[in-house]
Structure formats: structure tokens, C-alpha cells
Symmetry: C2
Subunit: 716 residues, 2 copies
Amino acid sequence: MIRQRACTTLGLLALTSLLSGMSAADVRAQNSVQIDAPVGFAADHAARQAFCEARFTELPSGDAFREHLRIITSTPHPTGSAAQVEVGHYLGRVMKAAGMTVREHPYDVYLPQLTDDVEAHIVTPVAMQLNNREAALAEDRFSSHPDLLNGWNAFSGSGDVTGEVVYANYGTRADYRALDSMGISLEDKIVIARYGGNFRGFKVLFAEERGAAGVIMFNDAPEVEEDPYPDGPMLNGEIIQRGSVLTLNWTGDPLTPFVPALPLDGPVQVERLDPDEVGLHTIPVLPIGYNAASEILSRMGGEAGPEEWQGGLDLRYRLTGGPELTVRVRVNQPKALTRATNVVGTFEGSEFPDEWIILGAHYDPWGFGAVDPNGGTAMLLTLAEALGQLADEGCRPRRSIMIAHWDAEEYGVIGSSEWVEEYLEPLTDGAVAYINADGAVSGPNFGSSSSPSLKQPILDAIRDTPYPNEGRSIYEWWAERADDGVPVMGNLGGGSDHIAFYTHAGIPSAGLSSGGRSGIYHSNYDNFAWFERFGDPEWIYGPMLATADGLLALRLANADLLPYDVTRYAVDTRTHVNTLFEVAEFRRIEVNLDRLVASTTDLERAAAELDAARTARVAASSVSSAAAEAINAGFIGLEKAWLDERGLQDRPWSRSLYVSPDPFSGYASWMLPGLRYEIETDDPGDVPQWETRYVDAIDRLTARMDELTVLIREGM
Amino acid sequence: MIRQRACTTLGLLALTSLLSGMSAADVRAQNSVQIDAPVGFAADHAARQAFCEARFTELPSGDAFREHLRIITSTPHPTGSAAQVEVGHYLGRVMKAAGMTVREHPYDVYLPQLTDDVEAHIVTPVAMQLNNREAALAEDRFSSHPDLLNGWNAFSGSGDVTGEVVYANYGTRADYRALDSMGISLEDKIVIARYGGNFRGFKVLFAEERGAAGVIMFNDAPEVEEDPYPDGPMLNGEIIQRGSVLTLNWTGDPLTPFVPALPLDGPVQVERLDPDEVGLHTIPVLPIGYNAASEILSRMGGEAGPEEWQGGLDLRYRLTGGPELTVRVRVNQPKALTRATNVVGTFEGSEFPDEWIILGAHYDPWGFGAVDPNGGTAMLLTLAEALGQLADEGCRPRRSIMIAHWDAEEYGVIGSSEWVEEYLEPLTDGAVAYINADGAVSGPNFGSSSSPSLKQPILDAIRDTPYPNEGRSIYEWWAERADDGVPVMGNLGGGSDHIAFYTHAGIPSAGLSSGGRSGIYHSNYDNFAWFERFGDPEWIYGPMLATADGLLALRLANADLLPYDVTRYAVDTRTHVNTLFEVAEFRRIEVNLDRLVASTTDLERAAAELDAARTARVAASSVSSAAAEAINAGFIGLEKAWLDERGLQDRPWSRSLYVSPDPFSGYASWMLPGLRYEIETDDPGDVPQWETRYVDAIDRLTARMDELTVLIREGM
């Protein structure tokens, strides 16, 4: 890429010159290299940025990445274990040694206690205990660790139940409705459902609503078994997907929506809800592998299911087991207030310390967590060290760069949510972006999802990030694999630690990752032995992602005017309105959104003017600190135009009208979710009042852009 | 103890007062608590010291100790392994996070390459391979780690030899002479010797001198097997003691005596000896356990050995195997220049940065090394964090406190020796003390050995260090177990990283440790599983030792005048002269050491005057920095009076006339070794000339004390 080459060349020249005592400005004056300045940089800072970026890209180290991952994943360390406390200390020490100010943020949250006191049996026609632990393998020295647990689901109820079996396919809302329409009762039945199609908590919720006695979930076999572990990286019949089944209408601690679950031994006590009244699941639930599942499925005697319900095992998937087959599920899962601790490091900004670029990932796993989450954790530590080295060499960020390690994500995205609730005010005023890295490294396939205003900054950053061993940028590598040569940035949805930042606090958010083929999700085989063979054997994708994340963070931290792509708000909103029309058409509902479409047109105009004003301003002159602070407060405020204190339908904690997790599946993202809800629930009568709320939000966004344009132009 | 209580009370008062803005001096003025000031402190600094000590004793953390040990010992990490590089980085990060300045000190030294390509067989009358690896145990999750190695001895020769067997008891000089006198030839024989009685390298050296083809060494069985691992902490028949057999007449890198083995890729190249000419062993050597040893011993057909040669196995220990029994030993041990890296952290002294208190331990193990060495390593990291916290709270040391982690100790005490050679000049001018912590934590039994001038400071420090769960001090705990209620400080000898400091550079040195029952020395079972069951299950002895080491260091670092016990030089020298007479009597040799005895009497007088002058000086007034610096240079110079550039007999690198390792056994310490050597080698004719060298040294010491007394009195 031309820009990349220019930056690199300048960087090396600048480095040489710096050693001989010249300033970056001298270098720029002396060299005729044309700098294609990153968005938002005035000329004086663009030259310094080019120098710092060229040096930065040399710093993230594969050795460091490997070393951090090995140490962090040497023992199973789920939230609540002593080992996790140690890992937290390790993260703090590494960041402190890298030059960051480090703080631990403890919370006492309501969590399942670490136990695997679970069992499943076939009771009749044979007595057989079903395996619910991955085998110890000679090829995997970690697989025999004594601290590993059986398969279990966090926020299962406790109980010991025996009953006949009903197969519920993926256990989606549609699947359960199909069972209803076939007249198949779940009352006192053991539901068996395969993973996939939705968040696993909804499989349980819908079964519980129908009176089921218990739920067994399983990883379905692939149609054709390919490269099963340990010969390859993929699923085998023993692998069990652990996971939370928490389904509440807020994210975070079950007892403290809206407020942080501050420690019981701290100075401030928060009100906690009664755990019996928040609506936790009460029936026992557990997960098994497909070998164990086939013992149940092969003995089912009822009617065959629909063709789409047929899975990968070589047997007919039937709807009911019949009276001959009874299955027992026993789960003993005490819950209690439990310490969860986020560890947050900060490189304080030299000029705008209260403006924060936050990079984060959770650090709690189900077992060892080499991929999920600690590939991301090790990447962030590698990045912390690289940024520390860069700062030591004179490139200290103008805004604060924070690296956050969240606890208790696996049980319900809890650590990050409590932190956002605690720091909502400074985050609202000063958070520039949240960049997530959950399980971010497990292979060669780069990808990214983002809120609209960060999509272009990410694409710009990966244009200047080398793809290892390829002699080209990530962008070029990605573009080659895209349908029409243009990488498609996804829209950020549910399922990880950006939720509170993005949907509760209205902070532009994104996730970058480099994935690969894997069948060990949430299993005891997600460990260093798997990772060093299949995840990142050359230890190159971790440093690659650290470089991309770091370049993005450094531009957000050092730009004079924040480089949000404001035009994307209008473009993406139009796309989402079209999606609403498609959903409505699919559901055969008439909707009129003329006012929304019209407001989007005005937004488009305001965004274009704002974009032009910013470009003109940084091209014309340098920007004083005071001016930058005032203008950037305006940029930071834009995303908050989407916030509505009333929240979404039945979800007051979800304040963003722009995006939310799909309330009926959990993982997928819904865009313009207030309107989507009315359409999905076949309730077009409420569409006009929701359209009004959306038009108000877009008009707010337009007005803020116009004000900001005026402010920028005034200062010229 | 009274002093302890007074300090603690003052400490709490001071803490309270500090919070209310009062200075330590105010506190002292306001309170009538009588401070029994530690030796060498003027009143102003004594008050501050009491405050800092009271706070310090609260800081060393059992959780931190456990955590560091677990992380460091998660993988086998001998010198030369990739894991050891990672451990080095970890040590650096922890110390950096604690606020220390950290530097890695790399050396390229001549080392065996990491291989366990060794085997031993009975060839006739049966064909049987002898086991040379500890079994993987279900009770020990570490024992199956794939990076563990067979039993091997560093600096064995390479070769594949078969021959008849001779049993050499412990393989001491006396044992081999007994075989000589019985007319038993070792020519082309395989020598089998039990561990114990001397440094294992001498078992090989003496066998090689007699033409042996190879050596097998074994842990002998105890008379009565008690608590064998894994049921208890002690030896079992599979356990193999690895270890170096290097025997040269200097310590450190075999190719660079007197000079540091600076890295090949560094700016300065040092001359290296030809490895074929330094006198390394050439015959193959390996260690086995007693189960394997019994396979050989039980088949030996020769004459029974002397009664004292009978060991713990239930069979007759015979001198020769006879022609029916042949044994094969094969060792492939390539050697090459290999990177070894010390990691050294420094809290720079606020007032006397060039005066150093150095605490150290090696960090290279044979396998995991939970006891040897990393209990000490984890203790030092815990201490680093406590001292960092203390400094953050305002108690920064006046002199520099350094914490050093040495590499390649197990192969021949190499990392520390190279470092002392590299920094000999600043160490000579400024090193106040070296405190060693090799494998320092493995149980409840506190003990300490020291050079004379540090014995009393150590006893003082442990009077003020709580013994955990006992409500009394270490001193009291130790005194109860001593013969007449007085703890006996040992004399420091060979075998660990104090050697270069003490015997080459003349720096007062000591070792403190807390040991226990153990049979897993240098075996694959020296791991975290053993340690958490038998070493320090409550994680209390590591913090205890960190507290004792820390108090000692803080007093040496903060005293106005260094608190060396100068009177002990004379006391101990007298004791050692008496030992010489006893050895001479035992060997039936007449010696006259009248001049030595007389010089000791004058030393006694000078020491008493110096001690009194120091006491008077600090009692009279505060001591200016300039005065302290001049006087303490004199104190630091005292120990160097023992140095003689000519060195000891055949050991020019051993410059201290006061102490050396026993040249015929390696581990034990010889005091006044120049004279001892002449007596032990039955050569009384050379005693007078050696007595002259000793009288010269003692007279130098006396003269330096007298000069120092004058200097101290002048300033009053």
C-alpha cells in the first residue's frame, strides 16, 4: 500500500534523524516524502504519528505472545477459582512492568459456585451413566489436569429429575412452537436439544416455560467427521460445550441491574435483588457430547422429526422417546455472592487524560481457555508491552489508552457490565471507543465487526498492518477473500464484553479477531496443547492482531480531531431500514417508515458537511488542545444520540435504539431493535410510536452533527 | 521479644500519626516508647527504621509466594530450555512491576546440551535395561510432563562402555584409597558408588584417575524406608538424583576463569580456553535409583565390603562383581557455548546508590525445581513486592537493594560467578553483603550460615521476625531447638552462588533457609505437587523467610554505620585455629601456630575498640552522608583483608584465605583453608610459610580496623 510504504520510509528516516538529534518536524521539512495523513491529523501531528507508527509495528513480539499464553493457561482458572486470582495478578504485573498504571476492580456478584456435581443417566430400558467429561489423551498433556471439571451449565437450576424424552431440535422459539403445533407436551419431560441456532439459555427458557423437568444439550455430530481432536482441531464425540444459560432482560450481575455490584467489604453498599425473584432457571440442565447423546437418541421410539431436524449422527432423530425410555438429570449447583475482579491498566494520555481508548477482553475461561478467551488476553499483554516500549521511546499517547481484562464473562458478561455501570459518567464524557478481543486469536482468518463510526478507522488501520509471511497488508489479504474484493465489516451484536459499552452506554465499539478451524469451544481441550498445534503454531497471528489493534488505538489516541466515520451512520441506518422492510415482507406485515427514511436523508447531509469541515480544519492548521477538546467532546457525544432512557421493549437496561442482541436468540445482533421487535412480534400497531422514537434519535444525531460542524468552522 | 514489641508499637503509632501529617521525628518526640535501636543507627534514622520495619513485616504475602512458585514451576525449565527464557522474563516483569530497575545479564558459557540420551544395562548374566526415569504417578499431575528428562549428570563424558563392576562405597578420597590398598583395580571397570559423603564430581574424578571406564551413582536406600513419595515426602526406589560432576579448580564457566563469559554477539569478546584442555571428565557417568542399583548389587559375586560400606538395601554390598557380571553405560552428551542469563533487579538507594545489598538465588532447576531452587526464587519475588510496596509508602532504602536470579547454577555455579567476575570492581568498592537463598524454602526448620561479620546482624533480624502460628520470633523458635538454648550459626561453605562473592571477591555473605524432610532432591518429583503437600502447605515459611531476609537487608541498607559484627572475626578465627590443631592431632602432625594465635589476640583488641567507637558515634549524634560514606568504605574493606592475589594451593581463583570449599569433597567448607590443606596433605614443612600469609592477612585486618576506629573517632 502506498500509504504504508510512505509511513515506513518516513519512519526509518525519522528514526535515523532522531538519533542524530533532529526533531520530527525537522525530518518532515527535510524529506520530500508525501504523507497521506490519517484522518483527523493536522500536519504537525501527522509527521510524529508516522514516525511512531513505523516504530510501533516492529514491536509486538511472537515470543511474548506465546509466553503470556503459556503462563496464563498453565492451569484451569474459571471465575471463582484461586488460579483465576493468580492470573489476574499476573495480568496486573505484566501491565505494570510495561509502564501502565494498574488497578483491580473487584465486584461481588451472584454466581454459581465452582462445582461439577452433575450426572445424566439412561434409567430404562438400560441403566447407563452418560459420560460428561472429555477423556484424558496421551497427545494432550493438559487433558488430565485434576482441576478440570465435568461438563456443566452455569445458571442451571438444581434438582434430580427423571422422565421421558422429547427432542427439540435446536430449541429455538420456532422449534418449540413447532412442537406445540404438533401437540407434543413437554410437561415433566427431559428435553434434549442440540447446540446451535440460538443462545443456549433460550433452549432452557422455552423448555421451562412449557413445564419441562430438565434439559440436556449436546454438540451435534458433523455430517462428515473431519479432523477430530486430537488428530485434528475439530469436534469429536467426547467434546462438551460448557456455557451459561442465564437469560435476564439485562446484562451483568443478576442481582444488580443498572448499578455496580460493589464489594461487600467496601465502603459503599448497593441494593441487591432477591435471587429467588429475578427469574433464574430452576430446572436442572447439563451438556454432553454426541457419543453420549447418541445413547439417548438411538433409543428413542417415537415419530421421526421433520427433515430439517435430522442431525449428523447416523440414526433417525425422533421427536419423542416413548414410555420405554426414561432419562435422569441431576444437577447440584449452589450459587452465592462471589468475587470477580477486572484488571485494568492505563497509559495516561499526555494531553487528554480523560479521553479513553479502551481495549478489552475477558480473562475467565471454562477450563484452560487457550482460545476462549486467553489468546485475546495474551495478545493484549503483548500490545501493552509494545505500547510501553513505544512510550519509553518518546511516543506517549495524547489520549489515555486503557487495557481491560474482564472477569466473569462466561457466566453472563458480568465483569465488564459492572464496570461500565460503575464508571458510566466518565465513560459517557470521555470514552472514545471500546475495542473487544474475546477469544480473538485462533487462526489465520482476520475479521472484524463494528459500530458504524469505527468501520472506516479499522479498515484504515488494517491497510497499514502487515499480514505475516505474505508481504502485504491484512486489508489486501482480506480483500482477496471477499466476494467482490471489498472486505465487509460486520455489525457488532451480542455475546461479549462490548454489550454494556455499546448498548447501555452508547460508546462506539468494535471487535477484531483472527480465527480458524476449531471444534473445542468451551471444552477441556481448549488448552495450550491444542493452541500450539492448531491455533497459532508460528505465534504470528497474535502479534498481527496486536499491531492492528494498536494502530487503531494510536490513531484514536493521537488524532487532533477524532477520526470517526460520521457518514457511515446514515449509510448503515439506510441498510437497516431496508432490512426492516424485508423482515416485514417475510412476515407479511405492512409498515410505513417514510418519516424514518426522510430523517436519514437529512442525517446524510449533516454527516457529509461535518466530514468536510473536519478535513478542512486539520488541513488548514494545527489544532490547539482547547479547540480539540471542545470539538472532540462533540464527536464523543454523537453516538449518545441513539440512547433512550426508556430503553427497549421489556429491556430498560438496553438503552441504545441502534443495536441490541436479538431478544429471542441472544447472540445475533438486531439493528434498530425497537422497530424490529414490533415487526418480529407481529405487532404493527405499535410501529408508528416506535418510528417516532427513532426519528427523534436520528434528528438528535443530525442536530449534534450540525452543531459540531458550526463549532469546527468557527475555529478556522 | 522486647525490642520487637517496642518496634511494633512505635510502628503503629507512627502509622497513625503519619496519616495525620506528623513526621517520624515528631512521633518519636511525642512518644515515650524506648527504642532499642538496631546496631549502627543514629537516633534520627532509628525512629524511621522502626516505623518502616513495623510496616514491612506486614507485607510479605503467602498468596504471592504461592502464585510465583506455581507460575515459575509450571513447566520443567533447566538452563538452555526455552521455558527457562520465559521464566527469566517472568522474574523481570515481577520485579519491574514491583518498582525495581531490571536488567538481564547474558553470558555464553560452555554447557552440556539438554539431552537425556543416556542408558545403563546389565549385559551379562542377564540382559536388562536399568530404569533411569521416575515413574509417572497418578498422585502427581506434574510427573508425566513430556519435557521431563531421564536421570543424567552434567559434565559427564560421552561414550559407550561395558565392563565388570567395582563398588566404591561413597567414592570419597578415603574410599578409593581403601580400594587401592586392597589391590582392587578400577582399570576398565564400571564403578558403582552411592551418593553422599562428598560432591559427586569427586566420585568421578577419583575413578577416572584410576582408569575406570564409567561410573554409575545411586541414591542408597534408607535403613528403614519411611514415608516414601508419593505417600510421604521421602526417597523411593525410583528417585534419581541428577547433578553436575564438574570438578575444576575454579568456579563458573569452564572456559573463562577470572573473566566474564560475555556474549558472543556482544561488543566485547573474551578469550576462551580450549574445552579439550581444561580437564573435563571424559568417561560416561549416569545416576540411577536404588531399585535399579539393587539389580546390579544383588548380582555382584566378589568379596563383601567393609561393614561401613554396607548400605540400606537388603543385600550384601560386595566390592567386585566378578567376571560373570558385566554392565554397560552409554552417555551421549554434546557440549557447546550456551546462553545463560541472570536477571537482576535494583531498588536504587536514595543516598548511597553505589553501596549494594545483594540478595540472590539461582533459578535454574533440573526439572520443575519447586524446592531447588524456586522456593527461594518465589520468596525473593515476594520480598521484591514487599520492598516495592514499602518504598511506595515512603520507606525507600538509603543503600541499593538488589535481587539477583542466577542462571546455570546446577551445572557448576556459573551465572553468579560470571557476574561477580564482570562486576568485580564495583562489588569490591560497594557490596555490603550477599545473602543467598538457594532452594531456601521447603519446610519449617529455619537455619542460617554466614561469614563472621553477618552472624550477629542475622540473629538480630530473626529476633524481630515472627515465626508463623507460634506467637514468637524465629530466634526463640530456633533457640528452643538448640543444644543449650543458643542458636548456632553455621559457617558458609561451597555448593551455591555465594562462592564467587565470598571466596573470590571477599564480600561478607550468608544464607538463610527454612528446610524440611525431603527425599526428592534433584529429581523429577521436585515439583509443585510435592511442594504444596509437603514443602509449605500453608504458604507461611516463604513469607517468613522473606521477612527475615528483608529485615536484614533493610538494616544493612539504612544503618548510618554498617552493622557488621567486627568482634566475630577474632572469635571465629580462634575457633578455626583450634580446629586446625584438632585435625593435626588426628593426623598425628606437629604444628606450631604461635604467631597466628598472637595476631588473633591483637585482632580481638582492635575489633573491640572499633565496635565501641561505632556505638559511641551513633549514640552521640546523627551521621552526615559524607561521613557515613567514608566510614562505611572502611567497613566494606575489612573482609578484603583476607584476600590474597596468589590464591590457595592449586586454586588461584580462590582468593580468600579465610574460607573455601573443601578441595577434596567440594561441598563442605574449609576455614583457614591454606593451612588446612598443608595439614590434610600431611605436609607440615610448608606450614610456616602459610602461617606467614595468614598472619599478614590478620595483621592487615587489624590495621584496617585501627584506621577505621581513628576515622570514626575523628568525626565525633
